[in-house]
């Protein structure tokens, strides 16, 4: 059945900000879908709150709405756009839930919008646990046995059916606290009793445990003719019990025989039919008993997912693209396999290599979180590697992770430690093997399949799967070489003789180095810039060559570049590609720290780097030389010092003056950075960081500015300063400013975690001119060709300090590009390719006609024991944008989009430091006028009462009961304003913030944030502003009538 002509406008919902469990993979799938639907001649309406996505580039849709992903705001877009259909399967759980809500509240029916891809019933059958169980049982499939009990007696009666081990979870406790595994009958009774006591509703959920069973996933596609294909099988090296996002996984499955694999395949097909996903892709998870082969269906996602992105990259089969075509009427046999171009999509990819995916964790960012893994995903990114053998892929995936620190200290009882899955499980496992533990011992403790164990143990014993072999670049072709591949997507394998499959052609090429696995401090923003670089290189008539190892991203879509090399971003791996490609130049400016770290090595190897010279990068990073440079151009930075030892630091600190910002020399995203207000505070910091011996810097990294690891940096911290960020373009001769952003939080909060606003609301024209002049001088002095990001602090009325300058693409480039309507990274890339600013028409408005607010999205909900306090160390995983005609409305939208929709009435709890009390009383008065009940602890309550504002005083946690933490936990608070009084991890503030995060209550930790929130609440009480698409906001400037397909393939 061909394309549906009865629909012409399709609504696509993105997945919003990058959060743990929902990351860049949905930009990849959403961007693919948008491209396909535009190519098919449909009008595409897109809603997503995340500006750092390729899919929200204006040329990817007919109308692009940067709006909060909430039913009300989507309904307003539907009302304005009147789409014929909603395709909800490309924006993760977020989009699927919205589709469900919009069906339930009648919006879709009211506006005559048809759900395509997955209908309401299919969504419910897959997402509702009980309904899913029933559906599976009706289809003759087995799910883990499960029961809900309210007494020990009931639990005992259920035991014969459930069996041991069993998982016991108290009903309705926060973060699943109090649950556990029961292995014996005694443990079973104990756990149930504990659970009944812990549960506020005296209910315990008991599940049959499949922990330790093999975990498998199948990626399945179905078309409207009921043709079903399995795109890829994935096996988890970590057995059941660790979330698949946190597991090391392998494609294809390795340990099942053909009959066992076919049994899984048969069940997967039964599942997709029973759930009733009419068209598109689904991910189905199974547990398989290692001995009996018994199969249990764990869950299914009736949509594209992280695993489907991985499966697409692992096989070359573009699931999202094909899902979009299937949704608008095509059948699998009517769609071409892009890779071979001669065979249809109605087939199952077969691969002749092994793919290993490794998660990337960030536990070092969240003190208090213990690093153990469970069924609750905690990793922030992933790296994928392709090798000719499992061992080749495994070692390549390990080096692709780019760990900042490697574990070197180990517990005495390694085997005991291995029993609990942890983020560094494989470091422990390697060490255990080195210390003589047997494979059997480790298998028994971990449940890892003996086949994987043998392969990994061989590596631990020093086997080098590359030794004695030559690197050769082979193609990913979906068909194990049965057909010639048209799309060049390569990986390196090691063979006896190098036989490359790359046909480099005659055109000049430019290599773009990607940003590797996502991590906190280096996220999708950098991938966005790399994709823009690839587009620009192609438009220039050169071949764009991408090197990256992150399977979630748009940059690793084989469509993005002319040649994609799925390789780790290490100097050796990159040089091997360069040797083959002989590029005109290499771009290191767009992928964040990852490629910058390689810049010197590449330059030393004689590789031409495009854009800003390496020397400038070093100059900007090295404190003393940067200080000299500032003086040279008549600018000032805060006083600073460097010290080689804690003793030196304490002495040097007196010269710098307090408060000061202290950090170790090796920093990514402000790791281990703190503000110290006194000599005692600094001494405490130094004490705490002196015994970091379990974490040493990875020797393959050089410390910042070439300084030895162990150097301590001290900077004067400018209290109450306004922080300002600038992204600017420079061609070495002239400078254009993209935007000046003002941070909503004061200096001291990492810029990545701070909300910011364009235009800079509090800066007068004189200060704006100062910032512009300073930017110009610095960019020119550094010889920047491309992008530069500068952070300033404005202290008092007229003092401008330069905090730092980064001559590269920054995290804010996508946000600025969307706010001003000019694709900065693309322009920067043109400059790097030799064009001059004077020759490029750039329509950057001096004052935009609207206000754009960027808000950070924080992962504290995932780490219930970590403090949710903001500071100089970056902790956010993603960002959202709010656009409106005024600041309060834009701020309110950004808050709502970030998942902390501000209440318009209710109870506000305020607890602040003494210094903040004057501002807090003003805030209390305003909120009281808006109808809020005000709640405060002792000192703050007193101050508020003195202003004549009615306030209820409540006890601190330490003062007894009933206290504020209990009130928050019981749902009696709608908004929390709490500024920190110190860094004592278990202080009152910590418990207050933890409780607020757990209940999803907006928790504001700075006074400037609070005052912005108060204005936004006021704005929210009037009618919501009409949503305006980017294309209208910017008068179609940046779209320039180009379709993304044309942009991508202009060079052909």
């Amino acid at each position: 059945m061909p394309r549906r002509d009865d629909i012409s406008k399709v609504l696509i919902i993105g997945s919003g900000p990058i959060v743990i469990g929902q990351a860049a993979e949905f930009d990849y799938s959403g961007a693919q879908a948008c491209k396909v639907l535009l190519e098919e001649g449909y009008e595409v309406v897109l809603v997503n709150s995340n500006p750092a996505t390729i899919m929200t580039d204006p040329e990817f849709a007919t109308a692009t709405y940067i709006e909060p992903l909430l039913p009300a705001s989507i309904a307003r877009v539907i009302e304005r756009e009147r789409p014929d259909a909603l395709l909800p399967t490309l924006g993760g759980g977020t989009a699927l839930n919205l589709a469900r809500q919009l069906t339930e509240d009648g919006t879709l029916e009211r506006f005559g919008v048809e759900l395509i891809g997955a209908d309401y019933d299919a969504i419910r059958r897959a997402e509702d646990r009980e309904l899913f169980r029933v559906t599976m049982k009706d289809a003759g499939l087995r799910v883990p046995r499960s029961v809900v009990v309210e007494s020990i007696g009931e639990a005992e009666r259920a035991l014969p059916d459930i069996g041991l081990p069993a998982i016991v979870r108290p009903g309705f406790t926060m973060g699943g606290e109090g649950g556990g595994i029961a292995r014996t009958e005694v443990e079973y009774r104990e756990r149930v009793a504990e659970g009944l006591a812990a549960s506020p509703i005296h209910q315990v959920l008991i599940d049959e445990s499949v922990i330790g069973w093999g975990e498998f996933e199948l990626e399945v596609m179905r078309d409207r003719n009921d043709n079903v294909v399995i795109v890829c099988s994935i096996e988890n090296v970590d057995p059941m019990g660790v979330h698949t996002g946190d597991s090391v996984t392998v494609a294809p499955q390795q340990t099942l025989s053909d009959p066992r694999y076919q049994a899984l395949r048969d069940q997967a097909i039964t599942v997709i039919r029973a759930v009733g996903v009419e068209t598109g892709g689904s991910n189905i998870q199974f547990a398989v008993h290692p001995n009996t082969g018994e199969i249990v269906v764990i869950e299914m996602n009736p949509r594209v997912s992280r695993s489907s992105a991985l499966a697409s990259k692992a096989t070359g089969f573009p699931i999202a693209k094909i899902a979009a075509r299937l949704a608008v009427g095509y059948t699998l046999d009517e769609i071409d396999n892009d890779i071979t171009r001669v065979t249809p999509a109605s087939f199952e990819p077969t691969i002749d290599y092994v793919v290993v995916k490794w998660p990337r964790f960030a536990f070092e960012k969240f003190p208090g979180a213990d690093g153990s893994l469970s069924t609750h995903m905690q990793s922030v990114g992933e790296a994928m590697a392709i090798g000719r053998t499992f061992k080749q892929a495994f070692v390549k995936a390990m080096r692709s992770r780019e760990l900042d620190v490697e574990r070197t200290a180990f517990p005495d009882d390694l085997l005991a430690a291995l029993e609990t899955p942890s983020h560094d499980r494989y470091a422990l496992l390697f060490e255990a093997i080195r210390q003589g533990a047997t494979e059997e011992q480790i298998c028994a403790r971990t449940g890892i399949d003996p086949w994987f164990m043998a392969e990994i143990a061989a590596l631990a014993r020093g086997e080098d799967p590359e030794a004695g072999l030559q690197r050769c670049f082979k193609a990913v072709d979906t068909c194990a070489a049965e057909f010639e591949a048209a799309t060049p997507y390569f990986y390196s394998g090691w063979e006896r003789q190098a036989r490359h499959e790359v046909d480099r052609g005659e055109r000049p090429s430019v290599v773009i180095l990607g940003s590797g696995p996502n991590r906190i401090g280096q996220g999708i923003e950098f991938d966005y810039c790399c994709v823009h670089a690839a587009m620009t290189v192609r438009e220039s008539g050169r071949d764009a060559v991408m090197i990256n190892c992150n399977p979630e991203t748009v940059s690793t879509d084989y469509d993005t570049s002319d040649r994609l090399y799925f390789e780790p971003l290490t100097i050796e791996d990159v040089l091997a590609v360069i040797e083959l490609e002989r590029p005109e130049g290499v771009i290191v400016q767009f992928g964040g720290q990852t490629p910058l770290r390689l810049a010197q090595g590449l330059a030393d190897a004689g590789v031409p780097l495009l854009g800003t010279p390496v020397e400038s990068i070093h100059l900007a990073e090295d404190r003393p030389s940067f200080g000299g440079l500032l003086a040279e151009v008549d600018l000032k930075g805060p006083p600073y010092a460097t010290a080689g030892s804690p003793e030196e630091a304490l002495t040097a600190a007196d010269g710098v003056g307090y408060p000061l910002l202290v950090r170790p020399s090796y920093v990514l995203g402000g790791r281990a950075m703190e503000i110290c207000y006194s000599r005692e505070g600094l001494a405490d910091y130094l004490e705490r960081h002196s015994n970091d011996s379990a974490s040493v810097p990875n020797p393959s990294r050089t410390a910042e500015g070439g300084r030895p690891a162990g150097t301590i940096f001290l900077d004067r911290f400018l209290e109450n300063a306004i922080e300002v960020d600038v992204d600017a373009l420079c061609d070495g001769e002239s400078v254009r400013i993209g935007a000046i952003m003002q941070h909503v939080e004061e200096a001291g909060v990492h810029s990545g975690d701070s909300a910011c606003v364009i235009p800079a609301m509090s800066l007068g024209p004189e200060m704006i001119r100062q910032v512009e002049t300073a930017t110009e001088r610095l960019a020119l002095r550094l010889g920047v060709v491309g992008l530069i990001n500068i952070q300033f602090a404005v202290h008092g009325d007229d003092e401008l300090y330069v905090i730092e300058a980064n001559p590269r693409a920054s995290r804010t480039v996508p946000f600025v590009s969307k706010a001003v309507g000019v694709p900065l990274a693309k322009v920067a890339c043109r400059l790097m390719l030799g064009e001059r600013l004077a020759d490029i028409e750039l329509d950057i408005p001096a004052v935009p006609g609207h206000v754009s607010v960027k808000e950070a999205v924080l992962p504290f909900g995932r780490f219930p024991r970590a403090d949710s306090l903001l500071g100089p160390e970056m902790k956010s995983t993603g960002e959202v944008m709010g656009v409106a005609s005024d600041y309060p409305a834009a701020f309110g939208k950004a808050q709502a989009a970030a998942g902390a929709e501000l209440p318009i009435s209710g109870t506000v709890f305020i607890s602040v430091t003494d210094g903040d009390k004057p501002t807090a009383t003003q805030l209390a008065a305003s909120l009281h006028d808006l109808g809020f009940e005000v709640l405060a602890t002792g000192g703050t309550a007193q101050a508020i009462r003195r202003m004549g504002v009615p306030v209820e005083r409540i006890l601190k946690l330490s003062e007894g009961s009933p206290n504020v933490v209990e009130r928050i936990e019981s749902g009696g608070v709608d908004l929390v304003v709490n500024t920190p009084t110190g860094s004592g991890a278990r202080a009152d503030g910590y418990e207050i913030r933890r409780a607020a995060v757990a209940r999803g209550i907006p928790c504001i930790t700075t006074m400037s944030g609070a005052s912005a929130a108060q204005r936004a609440i006021r704005a929210r009480r009037s009618d919501p502003p009409e949503p305006i698409p980017l294309q209208e906001l910017h008068g179609n400037r940046s779209a320039a009538g180009r379709s993304p397909a044309a942009a991508g393939r202009a060079s052909e």
């Binding site: 340990t255 025989s257 076919q262 699998l332 691969i351 003996p450 086949w451 394998g493 003789q497």
Partner: protein, 386 residues
Amino acid sequence: MSAYVLLEDGTRFDGEAAGALEGFGRDAESFASVAATGEVVFNTAMCGYQEAVSDPSYRGQIITFTYPLIGNYGVSGDHMESDSVHARAVIMREGIDREDSALAEGGWLTWLADGGIPAITGVDTRALVRHIRDQGAMRGGVFGGELSEDDAMDLVRAEPSMTGADLAKEVTPGEPVVLDPLNAGGGPRIAALDTGIKDSIVRNLRERGATVELHPCDTSAEALLARSPDAVFLANGPGDPAALDYIVETVRELIGQKPVWGICLGHQLLCRAVGLDTAKLRFGHRGANHPVKDLATGRIDITSQNHGFAVLGPGGERTIDTDEPVRWDTDFGAAELSQLNLYDRTVEGLVLKDVPASTVQYHPEAGPGPHDSLYLFDRFMETLAA
């Protein structure tokens, strides 16, 4: 110990000796310890290695597995498609000899060695497969490293070509074998012309209540009909169907007398019996992921495939460029090409409209491969029950 693959065009790929080849030099008496020759083909399935090597259709061939890791879950009696290994040798990127899988009764490489099957590991199989894809399947061999390339080439050249080879007679039973149903029974009696039938086919028929008789492939139509079967089954098997005119003659005598169903080589024989020609494919179809479209229903099955020859269209065409069923008249009434391979649009199925006879080129019994087409067994049994 070193070993190498040598193709008849002189292309060489190095690796390490495995399986029976590992005994190289120690047991110079045995051909298997120094060499194996045959047609070098490749299979793209990602598991099911033991089923493949024990499939009689691989008689005379050396299998290159495109999946790089072979042997992961060991070997077991459950995975045999016949009583012995039929492939002449095995070429792998990495051979694995472990028996700690819960399923394993032995290690793969040890089992190959015990069975006298030469093997080679460490080969850049992808490069080899690309060569065969571009140049076509050809004769070649797997040799111990100490054998000179000249001697090896002599052995390769001595190997008869696959075109014109009657290999069915090498794998057919000497005497008829009768196998009882695997369920309550009471089903039809099916006489199979055993040109190398796979156990999975026999099992699928017996599981559906059939009594299966396996007859030597040169059994006459008369002798078969004398057994009064309810239906005749034409089996899979190795070699060139054009070399089997004696069976084609038998089939012509059977059509219309009894319902006929066939798979793979059996399909080619029925097609030849109704006047279609067969020809060698450049490198064959061997894998578990080929899409086949049923032209009557539009349904697409992912199929298991193993054949080096294919049936041509009624006009002698190699590919069928329409999605409509192609009909024409034969000596036995109207015929229709019922299924098509969507990879290369070659013929995958035949139905005679006026007499009960149909065949498919692919392997609905899987073993190894997907189960999408198992319904064909049900359909066949239903036609017999009706």
